[in-house]
Symmetry: C2
Subunit: 227 residues, 2 copies
């Protein structure tokens, strides 16, 4: 490598992952009980440093795999955080990602081993450094995504009821949605297929299970610009 840039400084570059999951009608976050200084014993996002042969995307996937055992996870960059003193130990630029995982599918033993724990978005513990801000930015990104297309395949089990899907949306946007209107809107998108099977655990009458039609990539809440 050359030395053309050598009058400039180098910094550590890390990734932090905002890992969303969904369980029992609650949007949850996978947090880490830090086993190392600085801020040992406090809660933080899952993170790690970017290696020499890695992009930050690759590093984030590696970390996610190490924690959950999962590959092929939905993962998207949020933004970089670079305040000089954001990490109390040294100058670290953090590139933040958010991921969507299905809690029913991940390796929960591995998660426990790693000192990780699912927390409801409704009652998060105090987070280290600027991790709180990272979570907020990540949630905003998730909301934009959920407006642009029907999310659910990344967070729900293979088959789910419309109640479960609605509860997911209510959790993401922290609002209440009208049953009938939600149903009509979602079904009009033609991305769900009704199964011949009912879930009878969540209602007396029983609700049909649905699944996502593979390959159906219609964007629901249409955002084509036509002013």
């Amino acid at each position: 490598m050359g030395d053309k840039y050598n009058r400039h400084s180098k910094y550590f570059v890390a990734v932090d992952c905002v890992i969303f999951g969904y369980e029992d009608g609650d949007l949850k976050l996978l947090l880490y009980h830090r086993g190392f200084e600085p801020a040992k014993g406090k809660w933080s996002l899952m993170g790690g440093f970017v290696g020499e042969e890695e992009s930050s995307d690759t590093a984030a996937r590696r970390i996610l795999h190490n924690i959950t055992g999962l590959d092929d996870i939905f993962l998207e960059q949020v933004q970089a955080f670079s305040e000089p003193k954001r990490d109390s130990e040294d100058r670290v630029v953090s590139i933040t990602y958010y991921a969507l995982i299905r809690i029913d599918q991940h390796n929960s033993d591995k998660v426990r081993e790693n000192g990780a724990h699912w927390w409801s978005m409704k009652s998060l513990p105090h987070l280290v450094f600027d991790h709180q801000e990272m979570v907020m930015k990540a949630l905003e990104k998730l909301q934009v995504k959920a407006e642009m297309e029907l999310v659910g395949s990344e967070l729900l089990p293979d088959k789910f009821t419309l109640l479960q899907l609605r509860r997911l949306y209510e959790a993401i946007f922290q609002i209440e949605l009208d049953t009938g209107n939600f149903r009509k809107k979602v079904l009009s998108l033609k991305v769900l297929q009704r199964l011949d099977e009912k879930n009878t655990t969540e209602s007396r009458r029983g609700a049909y299970y649905f699944k996502f039609i593979e390959g159906a990539k219609a964007r629901p809440f249409d955002r084509i610009v036509k002013i």
Copy 2:
């Protein structure tokens, strides 16, 4: 500073700025004729390294000020680019920003001194490294912003006609818009005030000038989530 992270590598951290301007009905980009290696003599975005006492935001503002003489510019992070070999010289993580500036207002002598040049988005030169991708991501961000709220105060002169505003939107989205519908939509937002003055240079009849009402922050192309 401690040495808790010392088994990890450090990298250069730079910012690159996608600087949008608007002139003669064209969306333009301020590009730089590189005076240094690597890629000397090629065209690139405006960039620079992040200093020890700076956040990337601060660094981006510094660079923008150095080039254009302007402060108080609209500036927003796009994302970080971190492929190990994205810069041919050394490992450099780049945090990309986009800025909106009024071409009529910037210091054009300074720009020329810096070897910078305004290029129409319709015919950009070949850019170094991954700068082409940065421009694309920045344009997408600008489009999202322009959908969410009426942009124009950052790019147009203080007073402008609805034709000029429409041409700006057509340039941002690279589509044609209906005169009447655009007019109705924009005026319904109640963020523009008509002046008692007409522009007679762009049409026989003359079009009223408008200006943005200060403090009016209504979002035009409403995106409230109500599924």
